[in-house]
């Protein structure tokens, strides 16, 4: 579904080589997590995949088609969640807008908007404006918007950074459920190694700059996951430890 090959990105202004050479693929309906040190180029990668940034070299293909602009039926949750919400719209309108664009009929739209807002715990705040919400609430609005959109490909950039531990666990399970139900191909950037292991079927570890794929790790945990049991599996701890060491290696290089 998603093929990244030889991807390289140099930001002209400062002459920063954000990505040197990335190659990996995500199959249809797969959930892959991306981890890497701060500033290694995860956001850059996501923007290239989303067709928002033109790569310096290499290519990205979605469903076999080279990406030149944002592909259809793709949803993105941006790291800068605050800026990705339209301040002139209420929460409900923000979530509803892409659905209107997709020409989802009214009834179904209301169902989707209501459902996704309830799922992220914001049913009460539907008529507030984004700037009347706390940071975590804003981030959840952005997630609700992506979820309601029912995308084929879902890109998320540290989507749970601003919420508390318990909410985070709930949202992780929400994503897992939706991913299973809708079969979305998902690329998930996170800093939380536990989260990467818990959610991902595979975890791509990026090195620090000059950025390459350090490891493409298969998560061989049982497909059915559960916050308590999965996290307490010995294999979970193994994988976690391994990834931790990898990231430390990634950072140590610089």
């Amino acid at each position: 579904m998603l093929e990244v090959s030889g991807l390289r990105k140099v930001y002209e202004g400062r002459g920063v080589e954000a990505l040197r050479d990335l190659t990996f693929r995500v199959d249809t309906g797969e959930l892959v997590c991306v981890v890497g040190p701060s500033g290694c180029g995860k956001t850059t990668l996501l923007r290239c995949v989303a067709g928002l940034l033109r790569p310096t070299a290499g290519s990205v293909r979605v469903a076999g088609v080279p990406v030149t602009g944002p592909p259809p039926r793709m949803a993105v949750v941006f790291q800068e969640y605050g800026r990705s919400l339209f301040p002139w719209m209420t929460v409900r309108q923000n979530v509803e807008l892409p659905l209107k664009e997709k020409k989802v009929p009214r009834g179904r739209r209301e169902e989707l908007v209501g459902g996704s807002l309830a799922a992220v715990g914001l049913a009460d705040a539907a008529d507030a404006h984004p700037w009347q919400l706390s940071g975590g609430m804003q981030q959840r609005v952005a997630i609700a918007r992506a979820v309601a959109y029912e995308p084929q490909v879902l890109l998320m950039d540290e989507p749970f950074a601003a919420v508390d531990a318990q909410t985070r666990a709930d949202l992780e399970d929400l994503i897992l459920t939706l991913w299973r139900d809708l079969g979305m191909t998902t690329l998930f950037v996170t800093h939380d190694i536990d989260e990467a292991v818990y959610l991902g079927r595979r975890v791509v570890v990026l090195s620090s700059s000059p950025t390459v794929v350090l490891e493409d790790l298969k998560i061989d945990l049982p497909p059915e996951r559960d916050q308590l049991t999965t996290r307490s599996l010995p294999r979970f701890a193994d994988l976690r430890g391994h990834l931790y060491a990898q990231i430390q290696r990634a950072r140590g290089d610089r």
Binding site: Y11, E12, G13, G51, L52, L53, R54, T68, G69
Partner: protein, 281 residues
């Protein structure tokens, strides 16, 4: 919206070295000239065809105007009439910038001052310059000082309004950051207010540039005996229509030149603003 300005300029891909680079530069310059000249050339063509089809005393053809332009302006007139006008224009513009930004910042920062000053300012803003000029003449005489003041009195509004709105719209988190770190007074002004309101202030300055040229003409309709605007009015009254149009042409060229210079300046001052858009696909 791939086309909004920060994204329009396509990111320059690889910068080839050596002669290739020069060639690319030449090509870029040529393309830029072509985009800049395309529409004007088209418009002149339309004008020319129109004037050959239906000749009118008040709308002479481009050839007549071009001839009048050469005869009228390639002479000492350029120095005697145009130059003093431009100097007055720049003086008035500078004055308006000082007053507009200064007052605008004060008003934008203080809701009370804004409440008190707004009706008075709106009052003066609605008074047409042609009737304001006699009043200014009462106070400032009839010489260059008056003309500079008239220009400033017109230019100041776009600058003032935009500054006020720009200051009012400052990012709250940035304001709070300044308050926390004790960034106050002049330093807050310099580092937060003027920079943060910069894009909107620039919009105002841009507006004011052409307003200034208009006011330059109007100011010279009073108590004058020379100047670009005066000459145009004189041509108009003397029914020297091609000459009049050539003067208008000169005004347009003046405006265009100033705008180009202004754009350069703006790109420098607001580099962070235009840079922020980044190189997007």
């Amino acid at each position: 919206m791939t086309g909004h300005p920060r994204a329009t300029e396509p990111p320059e891909r690889k910068t080839p070295a050596g002669p290739g680079r020069v060639a690319a530069g030449v090509r870029r310059a040529a393309r830029r000239t072509l985009t800049a000249a395309g529409v004007p050339v088209l418009l002149v063509l339309v004008w020319w065809i129109h004037s050959t089809v239906s000749a009118s005393f008040y709308v002479p053809g481009p050839d007549r105007v071009a001839r009048a332009f050469a005869e009228t302006w390639f002479s000492s007139r350029l120095v005697d009439d145009a130059l003093p006008s431009v100097v007055r224009l720049l003086a008035g513009y500078a004055l308006a910038t000082l007053a507009g930004v200064g007052l605008g910042v004060a008003i934008g920062l203080s809701p009370r001052l804004r409440a008190a000053a707004e009706p008075v300012l709106e009052f003066f803003r609605a008074i047409p310059p042609p009737v304001l000029v006699p009043l200014i003449m009462l106070l400032a005489g009839i010489d260059d000082g008056m003309k500079v003041l008239v220009i400033a009195s017109g230019c100041v509004w776009p600058i003032l309004l935009n500054t006020v709105e720009g200051v009012r719209a400052l990012d709250e988190v940035l304001s709070d950051t300044c308050r926390m770190y004790g960034v106050r007074g002049a330093s807050r002004l310099r580092h937060l207010v003027l920079r943060g309101a910069g894009p909107q202030i620039m919009a105002g300055l841009r507006q004011a540039l052409s307003v200034g040229i208009i006011l330059m003409v109007i100011s010279e309709m009073f108590a004058s005996s020379s100047g670009l605007g005066f000459t145009i009015v004189l041509f108009q009254r003397g029914f020297a229509i091609p000459e009049m149009w050539s003067g208008i042409l000169l005004l347009g060229l003046l405006g265009y030149t100033l705008a180009v210079l202004f754009r350069r300046l703006e790109r420098r001052v607001l580099y962070w603003y235009y840079g922020r858009g980044g190189d997007r696909a």
